[in-house]
Subunit: 299 residues, 2 copies
Amino acid sequence: MPCSEFKLIAGLKKFQNLSARVVHGIGDDAAVLELDARRYQLFTADMIVEGVHFVSGTPARLVGHKALACNISDIAAMGGSPTCAVISLGLPAGLPVSYVNGLYAGMRALAQKFGVSIVGGDTVRSAQLVINIALLGEIEKKRLVLRSGARPGDLVFVTGPLGGTLQSGKHLNFIPRVKEARFLTEHFKPSAMMDISDGLAGDLGHILKASRVGAVIQAAQVPLNKGVGLAEALHGGEDFELVFCLASLKAHKLLQYARSRGACRFYEIGRIVAGPQKLALADQFGRCRMIELKGYTHF
Amino acid sequence: MPCSEFKLIAGLKKFQNLSARVVHGIGDDAAVLELDARRYQLFTADMIVEGVHFVSGTPARLVGHKALACNISDIAAMGGSPTCAVISLGLPAGLPVSYVNGLYAGMRALAQKFGVSIVGGDTVRSAQLVINIALLGEIEKKRLVLRSGARPGDLVFVTGPLGGTLQSGKHLNFIPRVKEARFLTEHFKPSAMMDISDGLAGDLGHILKASRVGAVIQAAQVPLNKGVGLAEALHGGEDFELVFCLASLKAHKLLQYARSRGACRFYEIGRIVAGPQKLALADQFGRCRMIELKGYTHF
């Protein structure tokens, strides 16, 4: 029987041995560990593979950027700031050193932008180019956001237009939403948040399951990248925007604030509802159809 | 130009951006980060690849064991205790779920033995089986051991017989030397230590380079696994014993202590000397020949 990612992570969850230091283990964008009286430490890792997450011949700087950006996005999804990374490279025989230096250069530029220290590495031989980055982050305890806090009546937001990132190349050069996440957790703390790495439906679906609620999304309000249909936004891959839920009063204050500033990176797209963990899509006449909670899968 | 591991790690080192929180970045078995007044945090990652670090068809539990054991060994090499791990798996299409469960079972058994919490994971598609584990550890500040502290006159020790681990299978089922490292850093703090993952000559060579000293090893004193020649111990792979240096007075106390207990897991093999960063091998008549500081390479 071939494996599916979600089954596998569930399998891993069964095997975790948790110590008192672990506040939240498997099941969110990053693990949450006790750090000190005021802060938690966040811990995450992502592996990207040639031919799966990027095509052969992709410029090295972009591949390096993406490998680190995916991880920073996971830290942002919890509301935190990234701190230290360890980089493992699986390198095919004959890969030019210049390509590896390009990978490092892409990582370094992004690491500098977000104050990430690259503190360790491992390099091994492999058939395909494989990059794994493990990243630590920090967050003030009171600012931590999990997937499990969405409540009926909350409004649902995304931080930017969705869809078409494979065609546009945004999946390679996106900027993780740390600034937006830090702003939110300081001023308008979301009840739930995660990053959209496998399509809105799949990732909002994780919030619905973890929070045991449903949601109604207004089809006309989902911001789309140019030339992209709604289906791609719902089930496409690798937007790396954030999807988050806000209690209604906070949501109105956020929208007011955003309007007063002219530019707005926060798009209200729907509402959390009580009941089964399902996602409904409403058209302009209020007619709803159910959407499968299924995102893009690399398997 | 094809890459060699040491060049690549050097390349990475050039690119690291270090914050004040980073006490030691790239260049030891694990990075050392500020944790609190009393403790440092350790952070390391290792990637193992099918066909490079284990042959296809190796029982899953052994592969899972090895993947985690390599990392725990890096934490031991600093004198620390492992705490939390994040596991990334690259899985070939069609790999049975039972194999993946076997990997987890191997990791879990070892994690339980050493009090490691498995707190996160990522699973992706890849051509070969690839496992990356990122591991955190902790160490009391005064017990931290780096590669760079060896001094002329120190005695050199290893924690067990070397060589032949690929043939014997020890490279798959070894027990990382956390207990020995913790004992040492409590009672007889080494001046330098690391784990032997690429042969004694290569890894002791790292200590010599980092400490800017030389060493003379007594050929007859290097403990060997059954049926193994000295060359294999010097340049073979994956013993995962510790090599460490002890100031002479402490060394004599350690040997006295070990003798008084009957069993001894600490083998004195030679001495650190002033001068160029070279390794000499002395025969029973005291005649020396120089040994290349070169270990096993997976490239």
